[in-house]
């Protein structure tokens, strides 16, 4: 890699992972606070949705991008979280923090029950099983419509804001706060020994197990963490939509979350936010404004979001296979290369240096070992 001139001590990120992640979260928090203050209620609502989707996508990103397990059922876990919160509000109202924790915990438990058999499956088989879960869940709520409220669903009153704070802003802040906390926790986890075993299991189960990683347990942990994220996202989604019914969680929700993860950059925390931006804004705003700008007919404009989604997916996968975040990273590295190596032959000399490095070390160390063997 290119050696950058060292930054002064104050400009460097803290080496302690927790401090580094908290720093990012504080910067993000300030950014979103200023953003919500300057926007209208409806825009605040969308920022809240953005935070919720970012949580669900980040969870899936850990499962699929980092641990290599493909799930098509993330939307179903979102539903579990939403229903848990709604049922609690109907039957046993309590502190909102406890309700959200309960929604998270309940979904984690459901995730555990699914994970124990599911993590024995690989690739498409796992995807199939999680898809089945996503398809089966709505039937459960139809079958026990007395408890789950059937098509009508359950109503969830918005949380009451303290003092004179606008209720919509308050809810958005709650959602953003939860999202930032989740991101810090996930980033901690990924920089710990657990993150390392997630990646090792994804890339090479044999090598991981020989290194002492319990492969099955690692997969279950990733699955449970991922579903816990979905559960929290579900609880927060219930708060902002005000009603929880089966129509809120179609199969396309799982697909959108998966597509958002791939587009944003699977396996990265920042990628989850980019993915959420695409998932939240593409169907509602961008596609509508585009459709009205170009005077599409009714049929086309109704389906334009899906078409645009597909088109963007294709373009991003062609231009930046590792998603938007991967694209940014690539761009950043190349800008650094260009700025530190002004002469046009810079890249070539770097490449040559790379190929000769190992030979040089090999030669010099061999010379120490075998002084008389000569060059071979």
């Amino acid at each position: 890699m290119i050696k950058l001139p060292p930054l002064p001590a104050w400009a460097r990120l803290p080496r302690q992972p927790l401090l580094r992640h908290l720093l990012f979260a504080v910067v993000g928090g300030v950014f979103f606070y200023l953003l919500t203050q300057s926007l209208s209620d409806f825009n605040d609502f969308e920022i809240g949705e953005l935070a919720v989707y970012a949580i669900a996508i980040a969870g899936l990103s850990l499962l699929t991008g980092v641990n290599g397990q493909i799930s098509l059922g993330q939307g179903a876990f979102v539903a579990v979280g939403a229903y848990t919160l709604a049922e609690l509000q109907v039957h046993q109202p309590m502190n909102l923090v406890l309700e959200l924790l309960a929604a998270t915990a309940m979904t984690a438990v459901v995730g555990l029950v699914i994970a124990v058999p599911a993590t024995r499956l690989h690739g498409p088989y796992l995807a199939g099983m999680t898809l089945l879960f996503a398809l089966a869940l709505p039937f459960l709520s139809d079958k026990y419509s007395n408890f789950f409220g059937g098509d009508q669903g359950l109503t969830v009153p918005p949380p009451s804001a303290p003092g004179s704070i606008d209720p919509q802003k308050w809810l958005t802040w709650i959602q953003l706060f939860c999202a930032l906390v989740v991101m810090v926790l996930l980033a901690n986890l990924l920089s710990s020994r657990f993150g390392r075993s997630f990646r090792a299991v994804r890339d090479d189960e044999v090598a991981a197990s020989l290194a002492g990683v319990h492969v099955a347990r690692t997969k279950v942990i990733a699955f449970v963490v991922s579903s816990a994220c979905a559960g929290l996202a579900g609880g927060l989604l219930a708060l902002s939509s005000g009603v929880v019914n089966t129509g809120e969680f179609p199969l396309s929700l799982s697909i959108f979350i998966l597509a958002g993860m791939v587009l944003g950059g699977s396996g990265t925390i920042f990628g989850a936010w980019w993915g959420a931006v695409v998932v939240v804004y593409l169907p509602s705003q961008w596609s509508q404004s585009l459709a009205s700008t170009f005077h599409f007919n009714h049929l086309l404009s109704a389906n334009f979001a899906v078409i645009a989604f597909g088109a963007i997916l294709v373009v991003v996968m062609l231009v930046a296979p590792s998603g938007i975040q991967g694209g940014f990273r690539w761009l950043g590295q190349h800008l650094v290369t260009l700025s530190t190596r002004p002469e046009p032959t810079g890249n070539i000399s770097v490449a040559l240096q790379h190929t000769t490095e190992p030979d040089q070390t090999g030669d010099s160390s061999a010379a120490e070992q075998l002084p008389s063997s000569g060059g071979r």
């Binding site: 927790l18 657990f194 390392r196 890339d203 002492g212 061999a366 071979r376």
Partner: protein, 270 residues
């Protein structure tokens, strides 16, 4: 301290049957701390199957297996690290999505104690442990003269560097038994000589079992050889005894035996 009688590895009469085919037939082998034992034999003789039995990937049909004095019955591969056994894989076996230093840290996974909650909250308990093992991994990479590649990904590096990193990953947990599956394949002659010297230097801390095709390395590094053919042990002994054994010569070394001894003279005497 680890020099107790049972030895680092004891394999007694282990047989493995794959659907009627006898892959291993009553194979016995032992390796003490302080010894390098070479397992040689033609392709398909059962060398890798033997390693797979020791590692718990394959269950023996009969026989007994003991590592560091404790008998293994239904062990799984991830138990080995705790039993202080490390194995390198044929080829490289590095995790492509981890940097070299992270790959080495992965080898210490069984020693790490940070629990899930402290990892989730980035507690001091977890991050301090990470930092400690990271510096230990870097030191090991420096010792193997590949410290400069610590933050690179395996795919971008030459084969020899990757092989050394795989060795570092096996060594970071300070095993008392090291199983090496063709550590020299694909290495240059210089790298191979260095590998031999390095393995000899590890001997006083662990027992080493080496499966290898390069007779130069085997003859110059091993204290004892076990020759497998069609799943059976056909000879054991010092390298000198083995290369003088007519049965081995016929089964494995064939006509190349003169070639091999000359090759050995060339590397050691040059």
């Amino acid at each position: 301290m680890d020099n107790q009688a049972p030895g680092a590895l004891a394999v007694e009469g282990v047989s493995v049957e794959f659907g009627g085919l006898l892959a291993l037939d009553a194979v016995s082998l032992d390796c003490r701390v302080g010894e390098v034992v070479g397992v040689i034999g033609p392709n398909g003789a059962g060398k890798t199957t033997l390693f797979n039995v020791i590692c718990g990937f394959v269950r023996p049909t009969s026989g007994r297996l003991a590592v560091n004095g404790s008998t293994l019955r239904r062990h799984r591969p991830h138990d080995l690290a705790r039993l202080r056994v490390a194995r390198t894989l044929q080829g490289v076996g590095l995790v492509q999505g981890l940097t070299i230093v992270e790959n080495v840290m992965l080898g210490a996974q069984a020693l790490l104690r940070a629990d899930f909650v402290s990892a989730l909250f980035g507690a001091w308990r977890s991050s301090r442990e990470e930092a400690r093992f990271r510096s230990r991994a870097r030191a090991l990479l420096d010792q193997l003269e590949i410290g400069e590649f610590a933050d690179r990904y395996p795919a971008t590096l030459p084969y020899g560097v990757q092989k050394r990193a795989a060795l570092a990953r096996a060594l970071i947990a300070e095993p008392t038994l090291l199983l090496l599956d063709e550590p020299a394949s694909g290495l240059s002659a210089e790298d191979m000589t260095e590998l031999g010297t390095f393995l000899r230097s590890l001997r006083d801390r662990m027992g080493i079992v080496l499966v290898e095709h390069h007779m130069d390395l085997v003859m110059s590094t091993c204290d004892r050889l076990v020759v497998l053919n069609f799943g059976r042990v056909i000879a054991t002994g010092t390298p000198e005894e083995i290369s003088a054994n007519p049965e081995v010569t016929e089964a494995y070394l064939g006509e190349d035996v003169r070639e091999v001894t000359r090759g050995k003279d060339r590397t050691s005497g040059a």
